[in-house]
Every structure is written in structure tokens, then in C-alpha cells.
């Protein structure tokens, strides 16, 4: 069992890991904003339904959600609705969007009323106030909790293997079946590098926003 051979097959697994990570982020970050607006809606039924939805999604283990998205349509319709990969992405995006939405909501609600009113008396539109005044302050405040979630996401991608997606852990476990444990421990190196890069990246963004207090 050569080191390079293992490394190569772990890298193949890592490709799946990265794909799940990137697609989930790209889709869940904006969807989370939509959900957070819905949960803050002045139209109470919408806010209420959204809150129940977020409660369910955050209350059920993500692993179970992946299984449900993949198997349940198959049981009900006789044929699976989504491919394995699409099921993982769907479950991850919805799950992370709900977590992000709560972070956004907390950030948006933490901006003082005075900021909105200052914009209003200066004749700004609602969207000008949101995009030109509030947004950057919100981003500054939510960056630390968002970076936490993003780092958790890196490791949550390993849950995809419950429906046989060969991400990096599964790639290593394929060797464990033959009695080789070290590839499994070796995956930690990849995760640490991945998370290390993200940590540096978020540190850079936080520093970029260091010039003001909000």
C-alpha cells in the first residue's frame, strides 16, 4: 500500500469534499438571507412558518436529513428523485441556509434603529439604507459566527458517506476494509490544511473590516 497511491485516492475523495463544501456555501449563503428576511417578515404567518421550519431543520441531525432527502422520495414515488450527490447538496444547502439565516437575523437585528433613522431623515430609500449603511456593519458583526459555521461545514461533508458518496473519509475507509488504518488518520492532515486556509482567509476579512467600530 504505497503512500502516493493512498494520497492520490484521498485527493480524489477530497475533490468530492471540496465540491460539497463549495456548492453548499455558494447556495446556502444567499438562501440564508432570504430565510432570514422571511423570519423577520411583518407578515406574521410567514415569519411563524419560517421559524417552525428553521426549528425542524436545526433540530434534526444533518445525517438524517441527507438520508431522508435521498431515500424518502424513492419510497413514495417508487423511483429516487435525486441522485446521491444532488441529495447531499439539497440537504446541506437547506440545513446550512437555516443556520446562516439565524446568524444574519441576529446581525441585522443588532444594528441600532438610529442607523436606519439617520438614513431616513437624509432621504435615503430602504434599499440604499440596507446596502449602503446596514450591510457592511452586519457583515462585520457576523463574520466570526459565519467563519465558525463554515469550518464546521468542512467536517460535516464527511456525513455524505451515509449515502455512499466517496468523500475523503470514505476513501480512507476503503483501505481500512483491508486492514490499513493509517490512511484514515492521514485524512486529518487534509482537513487541517483546509481549515487552516479558511482560518487565514477569515482572519484577512476580519482585518479588512477592522478600520471601523460597529
Amino acid at each position: 500500500m504505497g503512500f502516493w497511491e493512498v494520497t492520490l485516492s484521498l485527493l480524489e475523495g477530497l475533490e468530492q469534499t471540496c465540491l460539497i463544501f463549495a456548492l453548499t456555501l455558494v447556495l446556502a449563503l444567499p438562501l440564508g438571507l432570504v430565510i432570514s428576511f422571511a423570519s423577520m417578515s411583518k407578515f406574521k404567518p410567514l415569519a411563524y412558518i419560517t421559524k417552525v421550519f428553521v426549528w425542524i431543520i436545526r433540530g434534526v441531525p444533518l445525517m438524517l436529513q441527507v438520508i431522508i432527502v435521498f431515500y424518502v422520495p424513492g419510497f413514495l414515488l417508487g423511483t429516487p428523485l435525486f441522485s446521491r450527490f444532488a441529495s447531499v447538496i439539497a440537504a446541506f444547502v437547506i440545513n446550512y441556509a437555516c443556520y446562516f439565516s439565524e446568524i444574519y437575523r441576529g446581525g441585522i437585528e443588532s444594528i441600532s434603529k438610529g442607523q436606519y433613522e439617520a438614513g431616513q431623515v437624509l432621504g435615503m430609500t430602504k434599499s440604499q439604507i440596507f446596502f449602503k449603511i446596514v450591510l457592511k456593519q452586519v457583515v462585520k458583526r457576523i463574520l466570526p459566527p459565519i467563519s465558525n459555521e463554515v469550518i464546521t461545514l468542512v467536517k460535516d461533508t464527511a456525513l455524505a458517506r451515509v449515502i455512499m458518496i466517496v468523500e475523503i473519509i470514505q476513501a480512507a475507509q476503503n483501505y481500512a476494509a483491508y486492514g490499513f488504518m493509517w490512511p484514515l488518520f492521514y485524512t486529518a492532515v487534509f482537513y487541517l490544511i483546509f481549515v487552516g486556509i479558511l482560518t487565514l482567509l477569515f482572519g484577512y476579512f476580519e482585518k479588512k473590516l477592522d478600520y471601523f467600530k460597529a
Partner: protein, 262 residues
């Protein structure tokens, strides 16, 4: 004709009647001070004038033209509301500068956003932006903060922040500038610099409404004083009338209490 004419403004929050029929008028270039104990409705009145609250009844006219009539404004369109607001400026007790923008950007942000909504050629636009910038620097000079143009609000003292907030409001050339206790959030040694700016504005003929607890200042700067109590104008007149010869017992007891605290 008076620049501002306010008639029968009332405002309730739920069952609490906060303003119970406010009438007054203000001439161009004059300063009106509003005094009164906390909870008497002063802030709510200023917020009504700036349309942060919509009055339940009454009218507000500028130069004889009614810009707000409670009867006809059950549903005001957003654009309409924005242009109504531009008649008034408001300086808040807590400054409310935009923290992510430096001083000069705080002053120019709103005028530049308004410019973006107009359809202009590139050359026209550039000329207008230069104009906005020049005006901002002139205002900065007026508040004596030229050297802080590139500083962020968190790098300024409270007094400096409030002066920037005044310049920011002036950048849109409102007809009437309102102040809601502009020095209440400041350390005592910083109130002077803010009051000095307000005084200079009076000297340059700016029409102002000042809610304040600085009785000495109100007496000196005002052309007209209103004493509010429980949502009504309890007494109104020249500073001499109100401060030296108050007629209402409520005014008398308020003034003697305010003087005690000195």
C-alpha cells in the same frame, strides 16, 4: 408668511396620547427652542416633523404649501415621503454617524446617492460631484474639523461626532434643521463646541428648532421658546416671556427645578 406652519398635530401610540394638538409657526431664519420635562413629547414632535412618525391629525406647511395633511396621507408613497423629509434635517441625541464611512464620506453619502437617482450625462454628473465635495469641505471648515476629514467616527470625540452630524444634515440644505437634545449625550466639557456651531448657524440665518435642556443656551439663542408639558404647548413666547416672566405654574415649577440643578 411663516416658513413653517404646524397645525393641530396629534400623535398616539396605542392608547397613550403623546401629542394632543400642537400648533406653532416659525419664520425664516428664526430659532425656536422647545423645553419641557422628559416624557412631555418633544422628541415625538421632532420625529413627526421629520416623518419618522406620521401624525394622526394635523397639517404641516412650508412657505404656505401644505406638505403634510393627515387626512390625505393615510398611505404615503415612499418617494413622496423622502422628498417631504428633505425639508427638514434632524440631529440626533446619539449622533448616529455611519461608522464605516469617514467624516467626509458621512457628509457626502446622502447627496451622492440622490445624484445617482438623477439621469445625467457623465460631464454633468462629474460637475455635480465636484460641487457636492466642495460643499462638504466648506461645511467641514464651518465645523472646524478639516483636519479630521479622513477620520472614522470611532476616532472622534462625542463633540466632534455631533459636529459632523450637523454638517451631514446641512449637506442636504434642509429648510429647517431640528436638534433633539444635541448635547445630552456629551461630557460637560464637550457641550460648548457643539453649542458654538449651533450659534454660528443662527448667525448665518439658518432656521432651527432646538430641543434642549441647556436653559442658558436656549435663552440666549432663541427668538421663540415653547414649553411643552404632557403633550401640549403649555407656554409660548419670547425667551424673556418664558424664562423671566413665566405665566403658567407648570412652567414656573419646571424652570425652578431646572435652575436648582445648576
Amino acid at each position: 408668511m411663516a416658513l413653517l406652519e404646524v397645525k393641530n398635530i396629534t400623535k398616539s401610540f396605542g392608547k397613550t396620547e403623546v401629542l394632543k394638538g400642537i400648533d406653532f409657526s416659525l419664520e425664516q431664519g428664526k430659532v425656536l427652542s422647545i423645553i419641557g420635562s422628559s416624557g412631555s413629547g418633544k422628541t415625538t414632535l421632532l420625529r413627526c416633523l421629520n416623518f419618522l412618525e406620521s401624525p394622526d391629525t394635523g397639517t404641516i406647511s412650508i412657505n404656505g404649501k401644505t406638505i403634510y395633511n393627515a387626512e390625505q396621507h393615510k398611505k404615503i408613497k415612499d418617494d413622496e415621503l423622502r422628498s417631504m423629509r428633505l425639508h427638514f434635517g434632524l440631529v440626533f441625541q446619539s449622533f448616529n454617524l455611519f461608522p464605516q464611512y469617514n467624516v467626509i464620506e458621512n457628509i457626502t453619502l446622502a447627496p451622492k446617492l440622490r445624484l445617482e437617482e438623477e439621469k445625467l450625462s457623465a460631464a454633468q454628473k462629474k460637475a455635480r460631484i465636484d460641487e457636492i465635495n466642495e460643499n462638504a469641505w466648506a461645511l467641514l471648515k464651518k465645523i472646524d474639523l478639516t483636519e479630521k476629514a479622513k477620520s472614522y467616527p470611532c476616532e472622534l470625540s462625542g463633540g466632534q461626532q455631533q459636529r459632523v452630524a450637523i454638517a451631514r444634515a446641512l449637506a442636504l440644505s434642509p429648510d429647517i434643521l431640528c436638534f433633539d437634545e444635541p448635547t445630552s449625550a456629551l461630557d460637560p466639557e464637550l457641550t460648548g463646541e457643539v453649542l458654538r456651531v449651533i450659534r454660528e448657524l443662527k448667525d448665518s440665518n439658518c432656521t432651527m428648532i432646538v430641543v434642549t435642556h441647556e436653559m442658558e443656551f436656549a435663552k440666549n439663542i432663541s427668538d421663540e421658546v415653547i414649553f411643552m408639558a404632557n403633550g401640549v404647548i403649555e407656554e409660548q413666547g419670547t425667551p424673556e416671556d418664558v424664562f423671566d416672566n413665566p405665566k403658567s405654574p407648570l412652567t414656573q415649577s419646571f424652570l425652578s427645578k431646572s435652575l436648582e440643578s445648576f
